[in-house]
């Protein structure tokens, strides 16, 4: 909670610390959504300026700081994609290979504390990983996933729960 208080009081040192800790994870999500590293960084930059100015709007009782920051990034990314005619990345639905096309490029952030996490993610069943990634990294709604993967709406919900349950046992 010290982070958010620092941000709210306008301490740029705290902003730098928060950036160091969270920016790589946020950029990981954004760049998977937009498939464009340069644009992803622009969005990250804009998101952090927004985080800085809106820090007082963060309500710790509603959820974790990371979730809040990620939502800002996600909304900004979706806005950007719409304005650029991306149709929120849905054009690439069937082209799943793009998500993983260049692992070397995407997985370039090697921090010792996250190497373990990465290995654990690889243990996840591929179809569950796909489901999580469509929603979490590509910003699909429940409806859109149902259409894309050709499954009933309710199944999306229960499968996503099973997938994240497994994720929870892995971590």
């Amino acid at each position: 909670m010290a982070y958010i208080r620092g941000l709210q009081s306008g301490d740029t040192e705290v902003l730098k610390t928060v950036y160091e800790r969270y920016a790589p994870a946020l950029l990981g999500v954004i760049s998977r959504m937009v498939q464009d590293d340069y644009l992803a960084e622009d969005i990250l930059q804009e998101a952090f300026v927004k985080i800085w100015h809106n820090a007082s709007a963060y309500d710790a009782s509603k959820g974790r700081l990371f979730t809040w920051m990620l939502n800002i990034c996600r909304n900004l990314t979706i806005d950007k994609m719409r304005s650029r005619g991306y149709k929120a990345g849905k054009a690439t639905v069937m082209d799943e290979t793009r998500l993983y096309e260049d692992p070397g490029k995407i997985y370039d952030a090697i921090r010792p504390e996250t190497i373990g996490l990465r290995e654990m993610v690889d243990k996840l069943k591929p179809e569950w990983k796909e489901l999580i990634d469509l929603i979490y990294f590509k910003g699909f709604t429940q409806q859109e996933v149902a259409e894309a993967l050709n499954m009933p709406l309710g199944t999306v919900k229960t499968r996503l729960r099973s997938a994240i349950q497994e994720l929870r046992t892995i971590f």
């Binding site: 740029t12 902003l15 730098k16 950036y19 920016a23 790589p24 994870a25 946020l26 950029l27 990981g28 999500v29 760049s31 998977r32 992803a40 960084e41 990250l44 930059q45 952090f48 300026v49 800085w52 100015h53 009782s61 509603k62 959820g63 974790r64 990371f66 979730t67 990620l70 939502n71 996600r74 995407i106 997985y107 370039d108 952030a109 921090r111 996250t114 996490l117 990465r118 654990m120 993610v121 999580i132 929603i135 979490y136 990294f137 910003g139 699909f140 709604t141 429940q142 996933v145 999306v156 919900k157 229960t158 499968r159 996503l160 729960r161 997938a163 994240i164 994720l167 929870r168 971590f171």
Partner: protein, 264 residues
């Protein structure tokens, strides 16, 4: 309501992964406010997804942080920038009106400031007083507690069955004086109650001795305060005696100044 079904429905996962509409999000937030277990489940999911995001992280290039800091600096500078005055008589008269209004506002604000400042001063004075009182009471409490602890310890010592009490009777120097030593031979703990010795001259102090086969062993000096004094540990003694010595005590007793004495 049974929250198990709600939790296992998968809606919380959709919430955390950002797949819900605004209305659905508000519903989930309401449930989390109402039910602790929903909130806890939500948090576990959040943490799992946070780890998931961290597992996919990607280092931004340095330009991003630079850009952020520049942007923040810029907006902060804009906030303090003052608009330059421009010419034109209409603009000027409007400016004068504004300036007049502003000076009235400034005056009112100054009056309010003075009022609040004096109030602030009074309140902070009161606060300082209360702090002082509080410190005083805390100190008093601490010293009483220390006294009490000391007394409790003495009581425990004195009630130890191994503790023996020896009366030292006054010598020719001071026939009316008596003193009592409490001695635990097993542990060596030694206490002295010597309230009715004559007041020593300036620069002088009483000293307790243990006599072991006729040889005096220093058992410590003491002042004439109230209560029982804890003395040095003594494991062997045939008798105890008190002499008057120069301040700080002596290496061997001044026998001409022997005040009280008693055998074991």
């Amino acid at each position: 309501m049974d929250t198990k079904d709600y939790i296992s429905s998968g809606i919380l996962e959709l919430y955390v992964t950002g797949a819900l509409t605004e209305a659905e999000r508000l519903e989930v937030e309401k449930m989390a406010r109402l039910y602790r277990e929903v909130k806890q489940e939500l948090e576990s999911i959040e943490m799992a997804m946070e780890d998931y995001a961290f597992a996919h992280e990607k280092t931004p290039s340095p330009r991003v942080l630079e850009g952020i800091l520049n942007n923040i600096e810029k907006t902060e500078n804009e906030q303090v920038k003052i608009l330059p005055m421009s010419g034109g008589s209409r603009l000027y008269s409007r400016f004068r009106m504004l300036a007049f209004a502003a000076s009235i506002l400034l005056f009112l604000s100054m009056v309010t400031n003075i009022y609040y400042y004096s109030r602030y001063q009074r309140v902070s004075g009161e606060l300082a007083d209360l702090r002082d009182d509080n410190t005083f009471l805390t100190d008093q409490y601490k010293s009483l507690k220390a006294n009490y602890n000391g007394m409790e310890k003495e009581m425990a010592m004195l009630h130890d069955p191994a503790m023996i009490a020896l009366t030292m009777k006054g010598t020719a120097m001071s026939p009316a004086s008596t003193s009592i030593v409490y001695w635990n031979k097993g542990t060596g703990d030694l206490y002295l109650n010597a309230n009715n010795l004559p007041k020593p001259a300036d620069g002088m102090q009483y000293q307790l001795w243990a006599l072991v086969e006729g040889k005096p062993v220093d058992a410590g000096v003491f002042t004439m305060d109230e209560g029982i004094h804890q003395m040095k540990l003594i494991h062997e003694a045939d008798a105890f005696a008190v002499t008057l010595e120069p301040m700080g005590g002596s290496v061997s007793p001044t026998l001409q100044q022997l005040y009280v004495m008693g055998g074991v």
